[in-house]
Symmetry: C2
Amino acid sequence: MQQLPSRLLDNVVNEFGKLPGIGKKTALRLTLHMLNQPDNEVEAFVSAISQMKTDIMICPECHNITETEGLCSICADERRDHSLICVVETIRELIAIENTGQYRGLYHVLGGRISPMDGIGPKNLNIDSLERRVQENTIAEVILATSTTIEGDTTNFYLFRRLSPFGVPITTLARGLSVGDELEYADEITLGRSILNRVPYNSVKS
Amino acid sequence: MQQLPSRLLDNVVNEFGKLPGIGKKTALRLTLHMLNQPDNEVEAFVSAISQMKTDIMICPECHNITETEGLCSICADERRDHSLICVVETIRELIAIENTGQYRGLYHVLGGRISPMDGIGPKNLNIDSLERRVQENTIAEVILATSTTIEGDTTNFYLFRRLSPFGVPITTLARGLSVGDELEYADEITLGRSILNRVPYNSVKS
């Protein structure tokens, strides 16, 4: 990589370069951008990150993030349906589902998915606490909402086997064509499965 | 944009989103990455930026960055050729030229290029100080190394007119085909100009 005229600059480039999806060239661009910003702008950037790291806590129930001690705003919300648990990989998926406005139950954040290639097994995920929640509460349904990848499917299957003994209904997200998909451009696997898993026209909600 | 479950998180997403080329989705990804990093990693990131902002100074001679009071490491280097000035738009181009290892003279960082569309005129750039350097020192050659864009060419032309009265030789970077270019894929303007500006075979340095 390029030699930089300053070690201080070099440090910042290295730090930016550690972020996911940021290569060395982009890191340098971001660093020089920072260098050109007024001091108060940079101060705001830096303190927002510091404050987030110090002040954000994890919900002891669902492992969502929270700004206060104890339950997160979702678990603490009495108007939500406490008999539904939607299992997601990370907070990112929780946020995505929340933004659909279609779900009013609780969540359970696994903290990842089973991926032997990355050395992540069931023990590295928040699965014991999920099992405990299913045992200790009256749960009407557990919705498995992991990614539709091999690792996501593996995780789904593992969770299904772990939770089945408790007799709780277990569902998973509908799979098929995306809204707005042109049939001719849909990938073969999705299209093939959407034929195999076709549903009565009248049962489709939109 | 998405509703986030935490204002602290939201702040960081906004700050990342202000960086050039970082959209809201990437900003969220970077924010959650930060949230998952160990405290000392985040501390290193934050303090590298803070330290850079506090400790980096600008060279009074060429406007390059420096970590010490006074001249930058390039201007202070007695082994470099002090009769050559290479004029660049920003530190980024200075770094790029330094990394070629082909140049041992000094630099002059303009701080941008003339761009009426962005409201940047000659007065916003470090041109007066360049004129002073040419007047006050024995300069053998000024190399104009701005971008090969319309704004870069405009800046070049302006600098040429400003510096010509001092009788100093003014050169600009060679333009033509890039090393490794396939002729059939070269853009027409570059190819056309490289025919017009063809040079004796024996004069080419490689």
